[in-house]
Subunit: 244 residues, 2 copies
DNA sequence: AATATGCATTGATGCAGGTCAATACTCGGC
DNA sequence: GCCGAGTATTGACCTGCATCAATGCATATT
């Protein structure tokens, strides 16, 4: 028990009786559309879990028993070929929902990139809630639609963009995501390794590294301390990303 | 008026009072989950349209006013870069729904590959029906989930597979699709051009052509008349597709 | 039959990005 | 401050696919 308890601000009653109402990523997540009563109900089926860097979260092929909301940290979703080639299909962070794209089994594996916290739901219980709250199902469909749009963009990137265009597109998408979750457009944090970036963009670590060096040399990006990357001219970068 | 009307078989009452009930792709489409009354209702907001080969169906960026069910033929969905590079994000056929992945505007263009017929819905009217029929919304979410799974596979293909693996994966997916819509696994029809295939797989026409020739030489595929491609050993092809 | 038009195939050559290998960071542990 | 392990960078070289350029082969037109 924390001896300093009485020095901290008293939590609102809400945070005890209705933990989801106090959730810091609620407005980013599927839960945005739920009212106080509904939040209490979803809280009753949610478990808060934590993963250390590199911990596996789900394995492709396993029975898809759970769905997740990422509440902090970064998760990588990926698929493997038998010989070990890896394609990362997405990075998830604050408020992202994991588990729309599944049938009976998971179709991707997921691992923690850094320290990750999630909100885990038994799938059958969450699906019961979806039936009960049509607006939650509608919200889910909206998320699925957004994910499909992103997937189409990623296909364009993988199939038709050059290494330079891929890296710049990636940095800009991180930047936009940071803004979405209430942060700044620049500098952007890069929690994932060069290998992760390579496997996301269909490149090798070496090419990722060389392309970063090239962009640094041209002053298109600047590496700050802590590995943050600052993007001095977003419009110029956007032109590169679009292949002009 | 057709003077031979009385020589033709008398249509069932259903086909007149409830055209959607007689739809040949109903069980493949979102409409599978609708009962007779609901089919009548969706019929009242549907328009049947036809497109000639190469006709544009929707343009990326336009206000997303309509959604579509493909009832026959093949549609290509694609995105362009400013310099003309094209990525085909999918081919749609019998029973496929077009319009899950959109926000206010279309995020992809669509064109008829061959002669195409569609069932067109005004988006706002279809969305009203979604609110009214929760099972239809659920069905839509299921379709979105399947599309996301396919998109992940396509990312693996584009980012990590070789030209040969890409072509074989593509042929197998066409084969599986043919089975899904009630046809045979082999031979498969290829309504789209080499250029379309190239832009779908992140290759050039020349590489597609060379790879077909290679597969022919190795007796992994055989070209039949009418451009059908027969796949004599599906298991062997699957191993190639998976990169063994 | 002769010609045109559009797509597919094949060949010769080039290069972006991959591969292999060495070196340089970075950061935690002591 | 020093060491070790993991990660990133850089260099030298190679290759799979792209590019550029003919040629072949249908179907349509006259």
């Amino acid at each position: 028990m924390d001896v300093n308890l009485n020095k901290r601000p008293v939590p609102k009653m809400d945070a005890i009786s209705n933990p989801c109402a106090a959730c810091s990523v609620r407005d980013l997540s599927i839960c945005r559309v739920l009212n106080a009563d509904e939040l209490r109900e979803i809280a009753s089926i949610a478990a808060n879990l934590e993963y250390a860097p590199h911990d596996p979260i789900i394995d492709e092929g396993e029975a898809a028993e759970f769905m997740f909301n990422v509440t902090s940290g970064t998760v990588r979703l990926y698929k493997l070929l038998p010989d070990g080639r890896r394609q990362i299909t997405g990075f998830l962070s604050n408020g992202d929902f994991m588990g729309i794209a599944l049938n009976d089994n998971y179709t991707c594996s997921a691992e923690a990139v850094d320290r990750v916290t999630v909100c885990r739901f038994a799938r059958n219980k969450l699906e019961t809630l979806l039936d009960k709250f049509p607006h939650l199902e509608k919200r889910m469909l909206g998320l699925a639609s957004n994910e499909l749009i992103q997937a189409q963009d990623q296909m364009m990137l993988l199939g038709r963009k050059t290494a330079k265009e891929k890296i710049v597109t990636f940095l800009l998408s991180l930047s936009r995501r940071q803004v979405e979750i209430g942060g700044v457009a620049s500098p952007v944090a890069l929690p994932m390794s060069r290998t992760d970036i390579a496997d996301y963009l269909g490149l090798t670590t070496e090419t990722v590294s060389r392309t970063f060096s090239l962009l640094k040399r041209d002053n298109a990006i600047r590496i700050e301390e802590g590995g943050m990357v600052s993007l001095p001219d977003l419009d110029a970068l956007q032109e590169i990303a679009d292949g002009y």
